[in-house]
Symmetry: C2
Subunit: 432 residues, 2 copies
């Protein structure tokens, strides 16, 4: 009824794409998995790279190494520049001659990047955290800020180097703020001669009236108090109206916060590849998929993970988290095979196992159905879950070892500044 | 007789500068150690970062962390742009206002970089290996080359991506060539679908008539045979006359080798800071120092490590290796104190404990005085020595663990490509 071996192209080697590839193991199909980076990234621990707790290879592994024993997968490193759903081709790079891959079925799993809400000029001064490059850039800025403070004789300038603003009270912003406070108040304590590290300020700015809004108000409140215990200044209802190299402006009355390091954790925008499919997108640029995760009029094209906008039969919108991406990957892979064999496809049903957010040393919040807990037990649970799901036995051991060492000593072993561009001394346009 | 606390500035936190700082611990002096990077680098293992065997933090540690308990040291991250030996000041960065450090004694230990023998245009196409940035750039190029080969349908172009040329048969060139062969022939074996990895070529080009010329001809010959056993093509008396993005040209008759990855291990040039001292330099730009490592007319200025050109009382020139830099650091520190107390300074005497060079898996050569050995015993000895001298208990454990894992599995855990610039497809100007 069908050709013996059909060709499935998967774009993206994140949680969704990788899971889809694994679910398509076997004699039915040949798979080409295309990603613009060579590694699968365990994004939930990316903030640890940004804060020098883990090195890059501890939370990432080459996609082709993960799939080395699955002989029906060819992994291609390349930037997908076009999708032609009519001709069923995917273009890689800018080389029209031989950068084209035809497909019988396509799974698009390219995820999401940052959104600066129309203020792309903020990107260079307030990097976000989505890729290893992002994490290493933030690590460089954070570590360099302390170095510049150490050699800065003017008090106001020095304190601007010691001020860190995190924009956005979602999981990334909360993790970053909590860990930055640990670095400033504990890790670096005995290492500087000219700095009073009590002057370190970590300020978390959230536009709405509470942080971690996906959780219950009680857990939000607990998270806020745990952050404050770590030394973070948490400011809700604080909308950022301007960011430049010397700080941020908050609210309509233009309050100015001097800070040479600003980290963006506020907005998420779906991968621009969604537009190439020529189907309706939601406000965040995500592709609105049908009940089986395929797109309208193209039962052979599936969109999964953070790029997909999907509302289940229960009326709930599926959140952009890794368990959802994995479940979608398995569902889409199954539907590719069902469709290929002329059978009806399955409706995607998201199974929500609960949510976890870490705040910092010994602090986390957990929401498992109706069951909520926080503090040290939640942190231990978070640790266990994250190490468990980390790909690769070696990485698990390394991460556990690094964390055990960091826990007892407060030390962070990856405090290496790579890329040493001179940051110009500027005049501070701040009231201090 | 002297001021209670004099100020010593040390430029450079490598083996020499760090050892000098440690030797100056105590109540006699205040020390400012200035480096343009924040970390001490264990350079002998840098090739492991370049070949994805180790992550950057495994072989480096923040200088201020290493010296955190030595309270008389202030560590400054900064680029030294000038030394004024008359006014006794060191300038950092381009900020004249407050980037100046006065000194009573100065130790310059800024080491060496690459020399392209007047062909600086080769630098972008043939990176050398001196810093972590260099190592990560080489790692990126090597890993990306295999990725581009996998998606290249034209045979000649594909084979150019699978060809690796290492220029220079010194220790760095030999380590790189041996490890590249291991990656091509073993590590990546099961991971590519379109590539025949038997087509991988690793070519080591040496201008003189033998590799590792600092060793005896017998050991050179053994090293050559060990490299060939690993699959490296070793070509001596092969002078490179041209390098571009597509390959190298060898010798006068212009033989062309097509290779998209070229690594430079040939020339070393002393740090340009030596010129600032206004004293005679040798041909390689090194500062010719006196018997106590100070410079002419300035008994308060010392030059140590790879930047120093020193011929001992035995008539032997001290080589640019880490044990020599450390010994010089201790000697210069002692002489700073002796001079300060009005006592005669000591003559530097280099104690040569022998030389070790690794070639690859199970292969190394060792020359300890008159005692020479090679192969697996030399490799084990090399391993022991390098792990022993690595700074930091954690790093030793991590490196040992990574090596044990790599040894049994041939896997290299740091195979992460960071920075994904599109390499343009070019027409190969090669005979193939």
């Amino acid at each position: 009824m069908v050709d013996a071996r059909q060709h499935v192209v998967i774009i993206g080697g994140g949680f969704g794409g990788l899971e889809a590839a694994k679910a398509l193991d076997g004699p039915d199909v040949d798979i080409t998995l295309i990603d613009r980076v060579n590694h699968h990234l365990f994004q939930p621990l990316l903030y640890q790279v940004a804060t020098a707790g883990l090195s890059s290879p501890a939370i990432s592994a080459p996609i082709r190494h993960i799939l080395r024993n699955q002989k029906n997968v060819t992994v291609i490193l390349g930037d997908v520049t076009g999708i032609d759903v009519e001709r069923r081709t995917v273009s890689v790079g800018h080389d029209a001659a031989h950068g084209k891959y035809g497909y019988d079925a396509l799974i698009v799993a390219t995820g999401a990047g940052h959104s600066y809400f129309g203020h792309d000029e903020w990107a260079p001064v307030a990097p976000g955290l989505k890729t290893l490059e992002d994490a290493l850039e933030i690590r460089r800025r954070v570590l360099t800020a302390f170095e510049y403070a150490e050699r800065e004789p003017q008090r106001a300038k020095r304190e601007a180097w010691l001020s860190f603003v995190v924009v956005g009270g979602g999981p990334t912003g909360v993790e970053m703020a909590g860990t930055l406070a640990e670095i400033g108040y504990h890790t670096l304590r005995s290492e500087f001669r000219n700095l009073n590290l009590d002057r370190v300020r970590v300020i978390l700015l959230e536009g709405s009236d509470r942080i971690l809004a996906a959780y219950s108000p009680e857990l939000s409140d607990k998270a806020k108090r745990q952050l404050e215990k770590l030394g973070v200044v948490v400011r809700t209802q604080s909308q950022v109206s301007h960011i430049d190299a010397e700080g941020v402006t908050v609210g309509k009355d233009g309050e100015r916060i001097c800070a040479r390091t600003v980290i963006w954790g506020a907005g998420v925008a779906a991968s621009p590849l969604g537009k190439q499919l020529g189907v309706p997108l939601d406000k965040a640029g995500r592709v609105i998929v049908g009940r089986d995760l395929s797109i309208p009029d193209h039962p052979e094209v599936y969109v999964i993970g953070d790029l997909a906008s999907y509302t289940g039969p229960d009326g709930k919108h599926v959140p952009g988290v890794s368990p959802a991406a994995k479940q979608m990957g398995r569902c889409a892979a199954g539907n590719v095979l069902l469709h290929m064999h002329g059978k009806p496809t399955r409706t995607f049903r998201y199974k929500d196992y609960g949510s976890l957010a870490t705040i910092g040393r010994n602090s986390a919040i957990a929401q498992l159905g109706k069951f909520e807990f926080s503090g040290f037990p939640a942190w231990l649970f978070w640790l266990f879950v994250h190490v468990y799901f980390l790909i690769g036995f070696r990485n698990r051991l390394v991460v556990l070892g690094d964390w055990a060492a960091a826990y007892w000593t407060y030390e962070r072993h990856a405090r290496i500044i790579i890329g040493n561009e001179e940051i110009p001394q500027q005049d501070l346009r701040c009231r201090m």
